[in-house]
Amino acid sequence: MVQKLERLKESPSQTAGPYVHIGATPNWVEITGVWNEDLGLILVGPETKGERIIVKGRIFDGSGTPLKDALVEIWQADAEGLYNSPQEKRGQADPHFTGWGRQPTDGVTGEFKFETIKPGRVPYKDGRLMAPHITFWIVARGINIGLHTRMYFGDEAAANAECPVLARIEHKVRVATLVASRSEENGLPTYTFDIHLQGEKETVFFDI
């Protein structure tokens, strides 16, 4: 016998199922009057610092059909590259920006959409700067454990080229699955991030 590590096992994940909205966005499924507003709907207010952007996209299954029952969460740094979190020890993030958003995919079109700001750069463990990115977490019926990925910005070619995380991707053709293309919508820079669960364009997902 050796000494015991006295470790617990993480609770195993189970699918969020088709009715995740009841718990996550009840007002969106017309369960009203329980709480005032669904958490994570609004990231940006008038006092938030940084460039306003729209991030939108769809999540496709292996048949090319968009998921209409998924829940998408994003987590990102503020315009200066600081996270609004007690775990952030480098400085005080913008108090008018939570950095966390949550949206269901539309029940008809499958589209998700966030109004947010473009994040600043955050250092990797060794101090090199990562390219600006937004962390995505996706759950849905048929997804047994939440999928982590990142969205990078199509107009940040130089930063993307030196990002130590993107450099870890062995098959360079797959880097493009993490890079959102930029367009304009209602005068706002709009980044389209389509996520593919399977197939030739399968998005790079992370085990973090």
Partner: protein, 241 residues
Amino acid sequence: MSDQGSFYQRDRNWHPPAFAPQYKTTILRSPQYPLLSLDNTLSEMTGPVFGHDKLGPLDNDLIRNFAKTGDPIGQRIVVYGRVLDENARPVPGALLEFWQANAGGRYRHKKETYLAAIDPNFGGCGRTITDEEGRYWFRTIKPGAYPWPNGVNDWRPAHIHFSVFGQAFAQRLITQMYFEGDPMIWQCPIVSTIPDKVAVEQLIAALDRDNTLPMDALAYKFDIVLRGRRSTMFENRMEGN
């Protein structure tokens, strides 16, 4: 929080695999390339926090938080427990959100078509934040089992869905709680996506007769474990590498 290290690697053999064909929807929704393994960066070691100011007084009372004309039908229960990390330390300030079917196994959702009746007094959602010792509790009615389109005659055992925010985005977790003694747990294609029987048992809440409220509600104990962190003494060694 003294420890600032990255989180222990997830044991992917303890969790259900993405592809589990007995649960048919996973077939087209499971990534097929290997995941990109990445030791946590600040993007994963930080996470949002939720203050008690977000919560209303009835948020952890599913018997009352939607009630219109009286109490919902069903077995009254209290669910309580602690949120811990893999180092067996309590996780204070964790946001828990839970949702469930009513006593007849029917969800209040526009896409739900099961013929069991909607309960006019039951919404099926609640939330709470763990206290300094990682404890939580809420009051609800016991959900019913329900059939679902997978095999021609598949049923879900009674369960409550849980979403958990710990102290970092790396700890983000959604899972389900089952009830002690339910034989249907072992017939469920979603439960059986978890490969290890001991891991399944980690999701089965114990009936706690001692904490049952006399003449009122049964009690079930359900502890949740989130990923644990490395101690910083190991992290610092790597500086400047």
